[in-house]
Amino acid sequence: MRHSSRLVVAFYMILAVLAGKTSGAQAASRLPGELVWAIGSDPKTFDPAQVDDQWSELVRYVTSGVLVRFNRLTQTVEPQLAESWTLSADGKTVTFKLRPGLRFSDGSGLTSRDAAWSIRHALLPASHAVVAEEFLSPGGVTVETPDLRTVIVHLPGRVIGIGKVFDEIAIEPANRPSQGRVTAGPFVVAEYRRLQYVRLRRNPYYYGRDAAGNSLPYASGIRLDILQDQEMQIRLFLRGEYDLINNLPPDYFELLKQKDSSSVRDLGPSLNTEQMWFNQAPESPLPGWEKSWFQSRAFRVAVSQAIHRDDLARIAYQGHATPAYTFISPANAAWYDRSVNAPHTDLAAARAGLADAGFHLSGNQLEDRENHPVKFSILTNAGNDARLKMATLIQQDLTALGMQINVVTLDFPALIERLMHTQDYEACLLGLANVDPDPNVMMNLWLSSSPNHQWNPSEKVPATPWEAEIDRLMKQQASSLKQAQRKIAMDRVQQIVADEQPFIYLVYPNVLLAVSPRLQGVQPAVLDPRLAWNVERLRLEGGR
């Protein structure tokens, strides 16, 4: 017995030793002076012209040299490889003057010919560059290089925010595209291990210098670990293995705050919105009476009035969200219209509006004029806790009106099939990520002919007069030369949307970040890439 007891003890000791070994999710060891954080999946491409996903875009941002950069903090366009740039009075000619002595990361010289080649390359149909569409008629764009430092771009028509468009065109060596391995930006792609990490190293020839004349970037490199699991990301951040987290869900924010309150930042409302909408598509396979509810303005307004947005922000986002009534966030000071008159929470008004529209209560159940009980499902995506909580709270709020709501979660592919292809859904709750403060980027959302016009996609002609008016106003702001006129047009669009409630805006989620106390030079911005927007000035304590 004594012998077996010893064996038992040894057995449990083996277990204890094994249990002490934690799982290692860190993809590689940190090099001296290297910054490390996680990205959600592999970048789809390192070709800056072919970027078509969030993570490729981040790699392009931190590696590319661009003629001008849209400063994410001040929200102004600043010269970068170009020491100056001018836009002609008619808005059709952009002239860039390059800095003298520019070089690529391999030491070769950078001239206007490289810039011209890169612009033409991005505009070629074969490149399938997303940025080409922003030129509206990319085929009509011509580029001239009168000397080695001057680049002149002729546009067939005026393009809103043309400066920002050049923020997305990486200048590469002419005829030598390198998949990010030769760049004029602060970093270059040094190593890529699929599903593990992307390692970037400092570009020794980067033109940038700080106020004291020290060359930038400060960090020797960046390692972007490919890690989907946010919980693991938090653990590694707490262990000091990651230096920043660019997007924290509210519950993880609170968790980190409890452990180290100095490491988390709440920047207030983001540009993103969370909204709910009803399927108004006439060709959807819903019964006719449901279509008529959803196409009824009174019904949509009543639903909007029944929702307690303060509770959504307080409970679903643990206070890290701001109630939303329009599609432009207060964080977007230039375009936000404070005077928009939108339906606020008012249960009595909601009931009265429904009664006027022919709805009535039968016991606790709301019924329409033809005695159909008002029952519908709200679809949302699985895996987003805050969204699911919001859906549950909305379910409760609408019960007060006598509506019966089911909340259905689907994985993204199944959800998108229902929304975009079969249109077999009643209501949906999703978010919209806005990456640009200029509302012109929302053109695809608001134009009635667009497939992304969610509540009734790809309308051949506007289904309602107010949609026709939105179409007209969006086109008007896109062609207007005067900022004030654009603002008036967008204010009117905001008011129409508030009146008609095709999207019932719920909250603006706050920008929640985590920053290691060791990371210096941090100036968080609301716009992507948030903490990494000034990546060349980030460094670890004790680094150079």
Binding site: V8, L18, A414, P451
Partner: protein, 288 residues
């Protein structure tokens, strides 16, 4: 001649299983909701690119028989196709992950066997079955792999090897414990013990050789059990292996990747089953 017929039978059976796996996986993924959709369709900036890719996929896999034949034809030519999610050849994606998963399974298998054999040897030597061993084994068998992995993660202790080992060890222990107890009670061993022959010598010379076939069968079952826990363990611990790849492929409706992973897993199970089914393998207790 008998061997050739047996080999043909085995080959036919294996091919039929693999074909069933291919057809089953293709049906499940191709007809899963969302096969012809892409999350980028919701992003106005990338929607056009996504729609163009989806149209190409629709042209490729619009007809199910055509899709099935093209997948099988690709495999026959040694081309597993391109991943829809990553846009690279499936074999390039699978190669590095196969090594990670193989290493994880092997380490977990060794650990679980070390634990199970040690525990079974000690517990089977006692006069009565000990609750000290049986209770934790029963408890562990009742905990799903995903729950064990989550507990480890929350406690910041343990890892994928330990969880897979703890998934296997109690099952292996129970089997070994029963087998060993039965073996210890065999008349010739009782007589040998009465004659004063040492336990170690009995174990080495009589007991282990007599239960070798059962141990072989248990080893093959262990592989199948490990594979069943692979997906949750790799996903929860973020292990860049085949289980995690299969999970992502299912979520993203990445048919070529999912087909490749399921075929590898099916082949692994078939290969492990060969140990049991081999015609030359001695039958139960035949070596005594």
């Amino acid at each position: 001649m008998k061997r050739a017929v047996a080999a043909m039978k085995w080959l036919t059976r294996t091919s039929a299983i693999v074909l069933l796996v291919v057809v089953g996986s293709t049906i499940l993924v191709r007809f899963a909701p969302g096969y012809f959709s892409d999350t980028r369709e919701m992003d106005a900036r990338y929607a056009d690119v996504a729609r163009a890719e989806m149209s190409m996929e629709a042209a490729r896999s619009g007809s199910f028989p055509h899709l099935l034949f093209s997948e099988i034809g690709g495999w026959m030519r040694g081309d597993a196709g391109q991943s829809r999610e990553y846009g690279i050849p499936v074999l390039d994606l699978i190669g590095p992950r196969l090594r990670v998963t193989g290493s994880l399974l092997l380490r977990a298998l060794l650990l679980s066997w070390a634990l199970a054999v040690c525990a079974a040897l000690v517990s089977s030597a006692g006069r009565k079955p000990s609750l000290f061993w049986q209770a934790p084994a029963t408890l562990l068998m009742a905990i799903p792999a995903a729950a064990m992995a989550t507990i480890c993660l929350l406690a910041d202790r343990g890892g994928p090897v330990l969880v897979l080992a703890l998934l296997l060890a109690p099952r292996d222990f129970k089997f070994l414990h029963r087998t060993l107890r039965k073996a210890w009670l065999d008349p010739h061993l009782l007589q040998a013990r009465a004659a004063g022959i040492g336990r170690a010598r009995l174990l080495r010379a009589h007991l282990l050789p007599s239960i070798a076939p059962q141990i072989g069968a248990l080893a093959s079952l262990s592989i199948a059990t490990e594979l069943s826990g692979l997906v949750p363990v790799e996903v929860i611990f973020n292990v860049q292996g085949l289980g995690q790849l299969a999970w992502n492929a299912a979520l993203n409706r990445d048919l070529p990747v999912l087909l490749a992973v399921t075929m590898i897993m099916a082949l692994a199970v078939i290969a492990s089953g060969m140990a049991i089914d081999h015609p030359d393998q001695p039958g139960e207790w035949s070596s005594i």
